[in-house]
């Protein structure tokens, strides 16, 4: 056997060894916990045969605490390039079988390398996290590693889409990388995210809480909003990431992939002509409206379990990817509160950064009132959504279905926030407030002065009708040019599709500035 053949044999052996990570025993342990290994996850995520691994032979350089006696090729993370549906992506997957996936300086260098490659090549970056946290033996080097990653997350923000999958523990400082990325997905029962674990919480605050209650997928998907998606298992998690990618472009200079559809733009839906209840206090399901107007009824919701009073997500209309933002009258009457404002603002900014037109469906009675909201800074949080819409330069098509009152009317992509095409259904009420509240303010003295209950009732009814006739319709706004047109509900799909085509060549800028100062 020649020297060259021997060297090739060595390469094959080394590569084989690097793929085993922490060894079969630890792989079995990972499986017993219901978790896949880093390589198995990448196999599910990427197109078959597309993965090119980088830095498989990288080893850590730590000599503290006997670490120099143990080296595993790859050092606990699998990194590289692959494709999803033929589109380039750069990935890392932490390997829990190697030192619990803990982050060393070399691991961070591997991750940073693929992040840099993703930015240079304008490709999405996907990180699959499964790590016990910083590698304590490395001390400050490990923290420096996190810092390097975070800085790259920040610089890449708005340039390429960044997606985090949490497939195991993600604790301490490590949580900030997913928090800086555009979308975070968690897997129920096997993943958790928190800054400090249950034992520290117990010792500091005395609070008894387990990992799932403190930072499990359901908690972050429904209460904190840290997770945009919660998957039942890893397969579903991977499928969700793939589906998400199908709606978004690879970078901020491209358009999202076009999706051919058989769904005609001239499809009308008579259901929409009857969906608004006669009583303004009755709810209806906004999901029915969304599914009725988008291509093939296919709506991919983001943050489905968080702040359900507003709905955000992606769909296609006439083949184009769009971001849908819609008030949900079925939850809290569709009112805007702190969480709804935060949720929608973040989504609007993502769409704007990545050239995805915004379709806004409005039925909003106002902002949620009360001390809880005021103390929680509903003013600043509501301003985030206002800011996001006002700043967005992507095509913005807005349809007001029913209520659009007061400050919430302005926030929800009104004309003056550079809304491009604003429509209203004939059932729309665009006003400072509803008739009940307005009559109380305008005729409070007269109503109070009327002592006869019957006459008081009649007076209120008369004044409400007067107000309704004047303001609770879309024609005041239409007369002043604040909406482009009043449209028949059944034609909504066609009108939005045509507006989006019209706006497909939109070009609008922002004043020169270092950066904005949005109300964080």
């Amino acid at each position: 056997m020649s020297i060259q053949t021997d060297k090739i044999k060595e390469l094959v052996e080394r590569r084989k060894a690097s793929k085993i990570g922490g060894g079969q025993k630890r792989i079995d342990s990972q499986h017993q916990k219901g978790k896949l290994t880093a390589r198995e996850r990448l196999e599910l995520l990427l197109d078959e045969g597309s993965f090119e691994e980088y830095d498989a032979f990288v080893q850590h350089r730590c000599t503290n605490f006997g670490m120099d006696a143990s080296h595993i090729d790859g050092d606990g993370v699998v990194t590289g390039h692959g494709t999803i549906a033929g589109r380039s992506v750069y990935v890392f997957a932490q390997d829990f079988t190697v030192n619990g996936g803990s982050l060393s300086k070399t691991m961070s260098e591997k991750i940073c390398k693929v992040m840099d490659m993703a930015v240079k090549n304008g490709a999405p970056f996907i990180g699959l996290n499964d790590s016990g946290g910083a590698r304590i033996q490395e001390g400050i080097d490990s923290l420096a590693g996190y810092g390097e990653i975070f800085e790259r997350n920040i610089l890449a923000s708005g340039v390429i889409p960044q997606i985090s999958g949490i497939f195991g523990p993600c604790a301490g400082g490590a949580v900030y990388s997913p928090a800086l990325t555009d979308f975070t997905l968690m897997v129920e029962n096997t993943s958790y995210m928190f800054l400090t674990g249950p034992s520290v919480v117990k010792s500091v605050t005395g609070e008894d809480v387990d990992q799932e209650q403190l930072g499990g997928a359901s908690v972050h998907a429904s209460k904190s909003g840290v997770a945009h998606f919660a998957a039942h298992d890893e397969q579903e998690g991977i499928d969700t990431i793939k589906k998400l990618l199908s709606f978004i472009p690879s970078n901020n200079r491209e358009d999202a992939p076009f999706k051919e559809t058989e769904d005609r733009t001239d499809r009308t839906d008579d259901l929409l002509n009857e969906i608004i209840p006669d009583s303004p206090n009755k709810a209806y399901d906004m999901y029915k409206v969304i599914r009725s107007i988008v291509d093939d009824g296919d709506f991919f919701e983001v943050h489905a379990k968080f702040a359900k009073n507003i709905i955000v997500g992606f769909a296609h209309m006439n083949g184009r990817s769009v971001g849908i933002v819609a008030n949900q009258p079925g939850v809290l009457a569709g009112v805007l509160d702190i969480n709804a404002s935060r949720k929608a603002a973040r989504f609007v900014r993502f769409c704007d950064a990545f050239n995805i037109p915004l379709v806004t469906l409005v039925d909003v009675p106002g902002f949620l009132c009360g001390t809880q909201q005021e103390y929680g800074a509903i003013i600043s949080n509501g301003a985030k959504l206002l800011y996001a819409y006002g700043e967005a330069t992507v095509p913005k098509v807005t349809v007001t279905l029913r209520k659009s009152y007061g400050g919430a009317h302005i926030v929800m992509s009104c004309k003056q926030l550079r809304g491009d095409v604003n429509y209203a259904w004939p059932t729309a009420n665009i006003a400072v407030m509803g008739a009940d509240g307005a009559v109380g303010v305008l005729y409070g003295k007269e109503i109070k002065a009327e002592e006869d209950p019957e006459k008081k009732k009649a007076l209120i009814a008369e004044k409400k009708k007067e107000y309704d006739d004047l303001f609770c319709n879309p024609y005041q706004a239409a007369q002043k040019g604040y909406i482009e047109d009043v449209i028949e509900p059944r034609n909504t799909r066609f009108r939005i599709c045509r507006a989006l085509e019209q706006l497909s060549s939109k070009s609008e800028g922002l004043p020169a500035k270092k950066h904005d100062n949005l109300p964080l």
């Binding site: 200079r253 034609n491 599709c497 497909s504 060549s505 070009s507 609008e508 800028g509 020169a512």
Partner: protein, 55 residues
Amino acid sequence: MEAEKVDKQTLAAITMALHLYMTDEVHDTEPFVITIRRKQSFWDDRSRNFRKKPV
């Protein structure tokens, strides 16, 4: 006409016609044709919409 001799589809059509008549249903007119042709242009070049650095 005896009800049992009329098939269900006919009944449905009569009911629908009556419903339309009774509710006086009308629809707004729409052409339902999109005549805009998609084109490539530098006009909406994404990078031109990026914020300019202050001079």
